[in-house]
Amino acid sequence: MTTKPVFAAVDDAAPLTHEQLRELYSLMASVRHLDSAAVAWQRQGIIPGYAPELGQEAAQVGSGYAVDRSRDFVFPTYREMGVARAMGLDMVGYMSTHKATWHGGMYNPLESRFAPIQAVVAGSVLHAVGWAHGQTLSRLPEGETGVAMTYFGDGASSQGDVHEAMNFAAVMKAPVVFFIQNNGWAISVPTERQVAGGSVAARAAGYGIPSVQVDGNDVVAVYEATRAAFAHCRAGHGPVVIEAMTYRRGPHSTADDPGRYRSLDEERLSAGEDPVERFRQRLLADRVADEAFFAEAQRRAEKEEEVVRSGIEALGPRPGAEMFSLVFQEPTPALQSQAAAWRKESEHA
């Protein structure tokens, strides 16, 4: 494990332009505002629940920004709103899962290159390996290989599926980036009670997978590490492990009470520098952006939040028939008769 990427392929992409740096900031501002707003929506009764990511904006935006949506595919859990936003997903479709409209969200995973949201952490880590191996089997010309990026946390790294996934990927040299957001907490259990062996990235050595531990609060560092990992995978050198060290500043979910397992003082001491504020200071110091730009970014974030909120509020429940019609591609007679009985009885009621 190292804090400097030691990947086999050279990432020869140009450094980020000022315009791209400003775009990264705008994305982080949007994600920060939308995330805080979603917590408020829950308190206001607009949505029943949400899994906030306060403090993880740099890890999510930086990695999501490196995805090539024409060929790559991302496998999220339920706390990757920032990745979704950075990849340009329909955010009403994304948030609809938190509105309890539909498991997995209402966006199209094939068009967005973002697999359905899901709650079984580590379950989708294996899907990424399978999808990535499909890229290998497709025998694409050099450099055209799509890369799978799978997101999971320090808690999910305890799941056996993560071991199986890393082992499979390494044996098959699958083009997959294992992107770990180590946010310090698996609900109430801190990393030191969750992750043996020093870090998740340290485990990669056992599989012969190159790994990097990156400052997850530095959006540019995250972006560059991810881009380098993608270049490594695309060149046919197999998987990469990235562990972004960050901190979940808020609760695990809107139902959680962090006061039971950490104090506000501990939170302030452990959380480190706010990734959004830190990037803002850097852009100011480097004269990449000025106060007027930040104010405008904030205005756009607020406007965007209004649009997403009104979209969410306008979402009614899905027609009940979908409950039956989307189970199979070829429905069974038993399911069809259950649907017919449901229709008859609900119309009667």
Binding site: F73, F75, W102, H103, G104, M106, N108, P109, L110, A115, P116, Q118, V120, G123, S124, V125, L126, H127, A128, V129, G130, W131, A132, H133, G134, Q135, L137, S138, R139, A148, G160, D161, E164, A165, N167, F168, V171, E322, L326, V327, F328, Q329, E330, P331, T332, P333, A334, L335, Q336
Partner: protein, 358 residues
Amino acid sequence: MPETITKTPGTATDTAAPALHMSMQQALNRALDEILADDPKTVIFGEDCGRLGGVFRITDGLQAKHGEDRVFDTPLAESGILGMSVGLAMAGFHPIPEVQFDGFAYPAINQIICQIARMNYRSRGTLPMPITLRVPSFGGIRAPEHHGESLEALFAHVPGLKVVSPSNPHDAYHLLKYAATRPDPVIFMEPKSRYWQKGPVDVTTATPGPATPDGGMDDGGSLTGARVAREGRHLTLVAWGAMVARCLQVAELAAEDGIDVEVLDLRWLKPIDAEALARSVGKTRRAVVVHEAPLTSGLGAEVAQLITQRCFDTLKAPVERVTGFDVPYPSGDLEDEYIPNIDRILFGIQRVLEYRRG
């Protein structure tokens, strides 16, 4: 592998064309070979299915013929195999993974239930899971623990999965070809104690497609429904997989006592062909369900309910069940006590025939 041509009068495949005579192992192997040839997106993988050809040799020779990209060995990890299937299906492939023995489906149950069965639903139909999971199933070969289990009720209970089990080489060949071309996940339960039994296989007819436009069951005449394995008048034995052959034996013995037994081979355990059940039991008015799995909450209860609902007025006795017991699948030495044997099935028949309303 050797294949001999024989005429097979009096069977389901009694047509003008001669049928091949082969074991279920050979029939499955041939089906997989043809599936690979027909569909370049099909991939077969699992533990030892490449160079070895599988511990039961079902994939024998397929890697040599179709290449290591199409038929490959994976690390020894069932959750990995099934989780990988999900990603391959998302990438447009048609995976045919193998779990080496039924009991090793348990370590993969999260991927089967939470992922394979739900991805079509979760994704609103945009990510179908055309996965055929081959599971060598049931007991009867004196194997160690976890090498013989009857998981059909567990799988059939899961929304999003379909479950099928062939009982003879002909059905094995066609059902596997049918399952592998469906857009939904199918658990294909191969009765391992029947792998080496030979029978006629008509490969000259095309495997039937879905019987109705919505993929539903037809009248039982094609492979999407149940099959009357033996016609009879006095009662219906309902079975699937390895138990069909045993029920046919029982029917022959019962015939010596003048009892005319019909044997219904259910084939599909989800969806169950309720119309075929109603047709058969509507005629015989008595039924016994036979399965290897434990009694409690087994598929026998589901079958009994489907029969009761459709045939209540004409039934002459409650539907009986002859099943395994509510114990873990026992060791080889006790297997014969556990799996429904001829005597226990005959007792079940007797209970139904001698039933008197109180």
